[in-house]
């Protein structure tokens, strides 16, 4: 019924948004699976990548993108070693608030680096050519939207292969299901966590490239809003499993796009209210996750 009010243009944009959010959801979900840690600072990894692209604007595109990947992956390992590792045994609340502090810290560092030229915000021009529009069947599609969807599908397919067909993938799935038992059976904790951090870093760098193309002016709060929305989506989808988390990320992006198209123009300012009201509704009906089987109760049985 809602869909009838929505045209093809809205759907294309919604799918594009959903694809980017799904990539971020995988990055967050992978680390959560291993460490039971909700990484709020994930957006700042993406922000760091975006700044790398901006500061290397003069380089050839390939070099700039390579630098972005190198910086983001290095930073995600640094974050794991310096922050996540000492926190492994702590309560979820402490871990989450610590990642707030890390996010806060990284934003402040970015601000200091950014403000050296007297203005806040750095343009990233080298990758801007992807922002061109091609028209397919009367629908305007930006090249980066196509890129985002293709990258999301390829990345998820590769990830499915990795998790399903390789030893490290099997070990990661075992660790996500029950970390202690997996360790007892000989899964090396540092190895699976390292693999999850590496993969989530690669995904963060990929998202950094895609988002920088769409929003070429990079500022310290780059990707902050997106991260918050994806975190919400991940929990709504079901954070306990990677696929439900990913679907949740995609769903909230897609829903945001569709509701934005469906709302009358003078009411689009209330888009966040509509989306988050939907979030509350879904959480009340299915607290364990929209795509997770079964119902969670408020009280765990002993």
């Amino acid at each position: 019924m809602i869909l009838s009010a929505v045209d093809a243009q809205t759907l294309v944009d919604a799918v594009g948004l959903g694809a980017v959010y799904a990539l971020m959801a995988v990055g967050i979900g992978l680390v959560f699976g291993m460490l039971r840690l909700v990484n709020f600072a994930y957006g700042q990894l993406i922000m760091a990548g975006a700044y790398t692209l901006a500061f290397t604007s003069g380089w050839p595109v390939a070099g700039s993108v390579l630098a972005c990947f190198a910086v983001v992956i290095a930073l995600s390992f640094l974050m794991e070693g310096a922050v996540f590792r000492p926190l492994r045994t702590q309560s979820p609340a402490v871990m989450l608030v610590t990642t707030f502090a890390v996010a806060f810290l990284l934003q402040a560092v970015a601000l200091i680096l950014d403000i050296r030229d007297g203005t806040i915000g750095e343009p990233a021009v080298s990758v801007a050519s992807l922002n061109q529009v091609v028209t397919i069947g009367g629908v305007d599609v930006r090249k980066v939207t196509i890129l985002a969807v293709v990258v999301a599908i390829v990345a998820l397919a590769l990830l499915a292969l990795l998790l399903g067909k390789t030893t490290i993938g099997l070990q990661m799935r075992a660790a996500a299901a029950d970390f202690r038992t997996a360790r007892l059976l000989g899964v090396k904790a540092d190895r699976v966590i390292g693999a999850a951090v590496l993969l989530s870093g690669i995904l963060a760098a990929t998202v950094a490239v895609i988002l920088t193309v769409q929003f070429p002016l990079v500022s310290p709060d780059f990707a902050l809003k997106e991260t918050i929305v994806v975190l919400v989506g991940v929990v709504v989808g079901g954070i306990d499993r990677l696929w439900t988390a990913t679907l949740g990320g995609f769903a909230i992006g897609f829903a945001t796009g569709v509701i934005n198209g469906a709302l009358p123009t003078d009411k689009t300012v209330f888009l966040p209210s509509a989306v988050f009201a939907l979030v509350i509704l879904v959480l009340l009906l299915r607290p364990a996750g929209l795509f997770a089987g079964g119902r969670a109760t408020a009280v765990d049985r002993v």
Partner: protein, 336 residues
């Protein structure tokens, strides 16, 4: 005997600290007074959050929405009548044509915060864990969005100004003492104990007949009322406010204060709020250059780096907070 004394110390320790800060604010320059008042209002907000998060063990990102509605209720209703139609012409007539006094506005802020929290809490308190955290966050987003865009109930995206600046040292101190007093009474009451029972072991609490939902709802509503009240103090301190000031940044900062201090104690909430806001003020002054034995002159923007770094370090080294989540009590001899 000793137990009774400890209970009083758990009230008097935080109260004394707050009074000292209040008195301290009258000895410093006008420019520095605002730092002391800021710290006091931060204590009010953090203690209000503690009443829910500390008692129930459920992490809420939504308490700042009650601070926001309290702040805007108290603010909108105290803008002088003669300038109100000029600055806020689109309000509902009921709001536009009436103005109330300072104390009445604080009571109103508490009432609005409490009522809003009760309404929101009724469905939401059935959730727990991450789902509860995200749902309360959704409340914050919706509240912010409505306050920002709905100009019939407030100033919308513009700044609400001309609010009487009544939160001086006296009102700030008394206000915070009220919040601390209520929080202390609550945690000593049967209700508070039941709420803590649901925090420690929900299944066991249910088995002895305590309703997890009802206890969480009580804590949430009381916390909402105190948050609204703190919001009233805040708006009367600032004199002008935008919706952005009671949104994400304040949410993260106040939660960080609570966790840094120690989530499960009143003492922790007070110490955390004072420590973090004190550090913030000192570093802010240091960016402009101050002498503290040696001359401290930090580069612009380094305040936030140091603050973020120290908070992360603190949580890594001492995850249960400065106070370890325990109330203040007399030092006692170690028994073998």
């Amino acid at each position: 005997m000793r137990k009774g004394l400890d209970a009083w110390i758990a009230l008097l320790g935080p109260a004394l600290l707050v009074v000292l800060v209040g008195i301290g604010s009258t000895f410093v320059s006008r420019a520095n007074e605002i730092h002391f008042l800021n710290a006091l209002v931060a204590v009010a907000i953090v203690v209000a959050i503690y009443v829910f998060v500390g008692s129930s063990g459920v992490l809420s990102f939504g308490q700042i929405s009650f601070v926001a509605v309290g702040a805007f209720a108290a603010g909108v209703m105290t803008v002088p009548l003669e300038s109100k139609t000029g600055v806020l012409p689109d309000l509902f007539p009921l709001l536009r044509d009436h103005t109330i006094g300072n104390v009445a506005s604080l009571v109103l802020a508490a009432a609005v915060g409490g009522a809003f929290a009760f309404l929101v809490g009724m469905p939401l308190m059935r959730l727990s864990g991450l789902a509860a955290g995200i749902a309360t966050f959704a409340v914050l987003e919706i509240t912010h969005n409505l306050l920002r865009e709905w100009i019939k109930i407030g100033p919308g995206a513009t700044t609400l100004s001309l609010v009487p600046e009544t939160t001086g040292p006296l009102q700030a101190t008394v206000g915070v003492l009220i919040v601390i007093g209520v929080a202390w009474l609550y945690q000593r009451s049967p209700l508070g104990r039941k709420a803590r029972a649901t925090r420690e072991d929900p299944a066991a609490a249910q088995a002895v007949g305590i309703s997890v939902h009802r206890q969480r709802l009580w804590a949430f509503t009381l916390s909402g009322a105190l948050c609204g009240f703190a919001g009233g103090l805040l708006v009367h301190m600032l004199g002008s406010i935008t919706t952005e000031q009671v949104y994400l940044e304040l949410t993260f900062l106040t939660l960080a204060m609570l966790v840094v201090g120690g989530v499960t104690s009143l003492w922790g909430a007070v110490v955390g709020a004072l420590a973090v806001s004190g550090l913030d003020s000192v570093l802010g002054n240091a960016e402009d250059g101050i002498g503290v034995g040696f001359r401290l002159d930090l580069p612009e923007g380094s305040r936030l780096v140091i603050l973020g770094g120290l908070m992360a370090l603190m949580l890594i080294l001492r995850p249960s907070g400065i106070t370890g989540g325990r109330e203040l009590r007399l030092p006692r001899r170690r028994t073998a």
